[in-house]
């Protein structure tokens, strides 16, 4: 039964999801192109949010339930830091209602056909090409424009237990922004790294109350924050994966 469901998910729901991404992009492209240049990046970010909501809908269809637990978000911009084990993780953020997100990702995403236009158009940041100071400046500008900043501090899907690098938390410290820990459980089972088969899985998405840099003073405060947030997220993910 599981195998049958996986086949159905992969060939029908997976195909429908890809079709959604392609058709929505084709329909939106002329409107985005006509948008005033200074508003275009924001419009593309909103469009990515709409696409993400669609993918979350397909994940509901393919899975064994999708639960979203949201903590109250602080007013103003914040940094979202999530664990990362699947290509689906990028889209799960749509379930939380953050509709103006600046993603900081690895360089290879900027080289993908079609996606690269969205990545560049939305003003997302290539973490491998950008120096720490340039990143800080770009994030400062994004925050002024009302963006939230999203990072996967593990940097890769290959090791779901990898350490949280401290870059996201250093940014939080420098820009004095709260960090919202985001736990994503179940996507690793649904679509693990290196697989194209979409397995039925129970997905649980949770945001925790914001963590503030002022609670982590000292030169290595961002390192401590990274360790604490990783523990908070992974404890939750482990508990959910055991169920």
């Amino acid at each position: 039964m599981e195998r049958l469901r996986t086949c159905f998910n992969t060939f029908f729901i997976g195909a429908a999801a890809l079709l959604w991404l392609a058709v929505s992009a084709a329909v939106a492209a002329p409107f985005l192109w006509l948008t005033a240049a200074d508003q275009r990046a924001r419009a593309i970010r909103k469009f990515v949010y709409v696409q993400s909501r669609g993918i979350v809908f397909f994940m509901r269809l393919a899975g064994r339930g999708l639960r979203v637990e949201k903590a109250a978000r602080p007013s103003g911009s914040c940094i979202l830091a999530a664990n990362h084990a699947s290509a689906l993780d990028l889209y799960t953020i749509g379930a939380f209602g953050f509709d103006n997100i600046l993603y900081i990702t690895k360089g290879w995403v900027f080289k993908l056909p079609f996606f690269r236009y969205v990545m560049n158009g939305a003003g997302y940041i290539d973490a491998e090409k950008t120096s720490p100071q340039e990143m800080l400046n770009a994030c400062e500008n994004a925050v002024k424009n009302g963006c939230d900043i999203m990072l996967f501090p593990q940097g890769s899907r290959k090791n779901p237990r990898a350490r949280f690098k401290s870059g996201a938390f250093y940014l939080a410290e420098q820009l004095d922004l709260p960090v919202i820990p985001v736990a994503i459980a179940g996507t690793q089972k649904m679509l693990p790294a290196g697989s194209f088969a979409i397995r039925p899985a129970r997905i649980v998405l949770k945001t925790f109350p914001a963590v503030y840099p002022k609670d982590y003073p000292g030169e290595l405060g961002h390192l401590r924050m990274a360790q604490d947030i990783k523990k908070q997220i992974m404890d939750f993910v482990d508990k959910e994966n055991e169920k």
Binding site: P132, R163, L220, H222, L223
Partner: protein, 86 residues
């Protein structure tokens, strides 16, 4: 004065604690960037961690870019510890 063995042990202990490395990763030939995947910010954090551990200043007057492997790092700390002891 601190011995090289103590430097290696204390450095590895600090790196394991702060950067979640495992024993098998911390071989002297391991390259900080390519094998241990330490980025520029990690390198800064590592320097602060080691300064606190050994009570020496690693940031001023030295070119940290010459430190490529863990062995280079042990050599560097040993040199500083000797200079500090004098």
């Amino acid at each position: 004065m601190i011995t090289r063995e103590e430097i290696i042990k204390q450095t590895n202990d600090a790196l394991k604690k702060e950067f979640e490395f495992k024993d098998e990763q911390l071989v002297p030939t391991a390259q900080l960037k390519d094998d241990l995947c330490l980025d520029s910010l990690d390198a800064v954090d590592m320097v602060v961690v080691l300064e606190q551990k050994f009570g020496v200043t690693l940031r001023q007057g030295y070119d940290l870019r010459t430190i490529v492997t863990l062995n280079d790092l042990y050599d560097f700390i040993e040199k500083l510890a000797k200079a500090h002891h004098k």
